[in-house]
């Protein structure tokens, strides 16, 4: 509940930015550079005089888009892989699980460095990196759950009733296995927001002058003593999203538990 409310506040902030604080997040204004938070500039301004509130809100679009696409896209893939591996078992299972082991064993940041090294740093290459890696967790969770549920008697009944494999997996196994994956996805969003910010911080992700949160932080560290608001507010934004999604995940876990 509180988590949803926190996300709603963020979304409202993003949507209402033109009304609340009508500053262009990209417009340079050296006359009002490095000003502390005030009524006109709620989060203050940076060294180029850009309004930090406007930039943090514009950054939310980048970070949330990246995090959501990079979590829910791979989640679909992972759930599919996990279901197929757990349901069919045998050779198919071994083959798919060896692939996940290989990807799992590969250090994520090294993979990103390699991709960026070959393709150059950009937002789209971040997508590639996350899609290559993020499905693993879901595949493992769903496979494990499928192994458990697949032995239950209602699945045996569905097989004796000769329902198609697709129906057994989609209608009977999936709804009973997907909850832990959904709950995990919420904490995954948190981790991914942080990873996106971290990669951008190191110059491997989103490129300036985009107001991505990690970039806002890295651009501000030279002014940390004189203008701490430049660093604090993007950092708070990351923490805000993290707490919000964690709470949503907790709520989901409680709501989705089957009754009885």
């Amino acid at each position: 509940m509180i988590g949803c409310l926190m996300l709603l506040v963020l979304v409202a902030g993003v949507v209402l930015t033109p009304v609340l604080s009508p500053h262009d997040p990209f417009a340079l204004d050296f006359a009002s550079a490095v000003q502390p938070p005030s009524l006109t500039h709620w989060f203050g301004t940076d060294n180029f005089g850009r309004d930090i509130f406007a930039r943090v809100m514009a950054g939310a679009v980048y970070d949330l888009r990246l995090a959501l696409v990079c979590v829910f896209g791979p989640m679909m893939v992972g759930i599919g892989v996990g279901l197929v591996a757990g349901y069919y078992g045998g050779t198919i299972d071994r083959f798919l699980m060896r692939i996940t082991d290989i990807v799992w064993a590969f250090p994520f940041y090294v993979l990103v460095l390699a991709i960026v090294g070959v393709l150059g740093p950009s937002e789209s290459n971040l997508y590639i990196a996350f899609f290559l890696v993020n499905w693993i967790g879901y595949a493992r969770i769903v496979r494990g759950e499928t192994l458990v549920v697949g032995r239950l008697e209602y699945i045996e009944a569905a097989r004796v009733l000769r329902f198609s494999d697709g129906r057994v997996m989609g209608r009977h196994i999936l709804p009973n296995t997907v909850t832990p994956a959904l709950v995990y996805s919420m904490s995954d969003v948190v981790l991914t927001v942080q990873a996106v910010a971290a990669l951008s911080f190191f110059g491997l992700g989103v490129q300036p002058p985009a107001p991505e949160w990690g970039l806002l932080i890295v651009e501000s560290i030279d002014y940390l003593r004189e203008a701490p608001w430049m660093t604090i507010f993007p950092g708070l934004a990351i923490a805000w999203v993290g707490v919000a999604f964690s709470l949503v995940g907790e709520g989901l876990a409680a709501t989705l538990k089957p009754k009885g």
Partner: protein, 322 residues
Amino acid sequence: MSVMVLDAVSRRFPVRRGLLDMIMRRPAPALQAVRNVSLALREGETLGIVGESGCGKSTLARLAVGLQTPDEGSVAFGGKLMTGPDPDGRVQMVFQDPYSSLNPRMTIGAQLDEVVARYRPDVGRRERTAESRRLLDQVGMPPDAALKYPHALSGGQRQRVSIARALCPQPQVLVADEPVSALDASVQAQIINLFQRLSAERGIAIIFISHDMQVIRHLCDRVAVMYLGEVVELQAKAELFERPLHPYTRGLIDAVPDVTRRGRRSRKALSGEIPDPFSTIEGCRFSGRCPMAEAACSRQQTLRVIDGGGAVRCWKATPDPR
């Protein structure tokens, strides 16, 4: 006419070997759940299968519906060999645990609609609900149960729904794996009566598995007694309870408390434990617990036919004079 024939079926479950076993080159141990069982299910009859826990009853049930395939031997339904569950759903199963035999995330109605859609393609989308309620009615459930989720039903009600689901494909054989053992005694009676009605009104052949001799006595036409994966006795119900041939059957019947009989009676309750199913005993597998065992029992025992159509796997068995 036999509707289903199990011909010398065996089923083993190999156990994963540990690293040490591999180094020592020990062969993989296998749990012999069902060994060399031959049974013929006659049209419209109710065949009881009785035995202790772990004697292979449930494995036999899964072999009969095609959820498992036999390692040796074959299962034939309607004259054709079965490889997996019958494509037309004419062999259905009712499971032991009413709590895990229904999908917890679908309403009863949705689960029945699904079966109707699969087996009555001529029934339109609109009429499906009516058809599902008709199925519920057949097992004595009110139509508004269709809107409920399984967690809102009692064990007996869930078992009725499972039976309704199994009836939709109009099965010729219904395999019931301990369908009443998880229910209260009063509910048990209702479910047993339901099975009796199905058998009488529709002529469905039923394989009814139970460890409860009284339930078997009430419901079945013929009874097969299983011990450690083997059928040790097969007789018509009346004969089995009147003159049990195998000492194990006698033990099972004697173990049933009888409130009508006055005074003490000689209860020869079975002692000892069922042997390790991994073991490979050569002779009679019951000899370790048998009150009349002797040296000759270590010979291989065969299921021999006796007068009156029954069969017993004990060389000493003679009709009991009591």
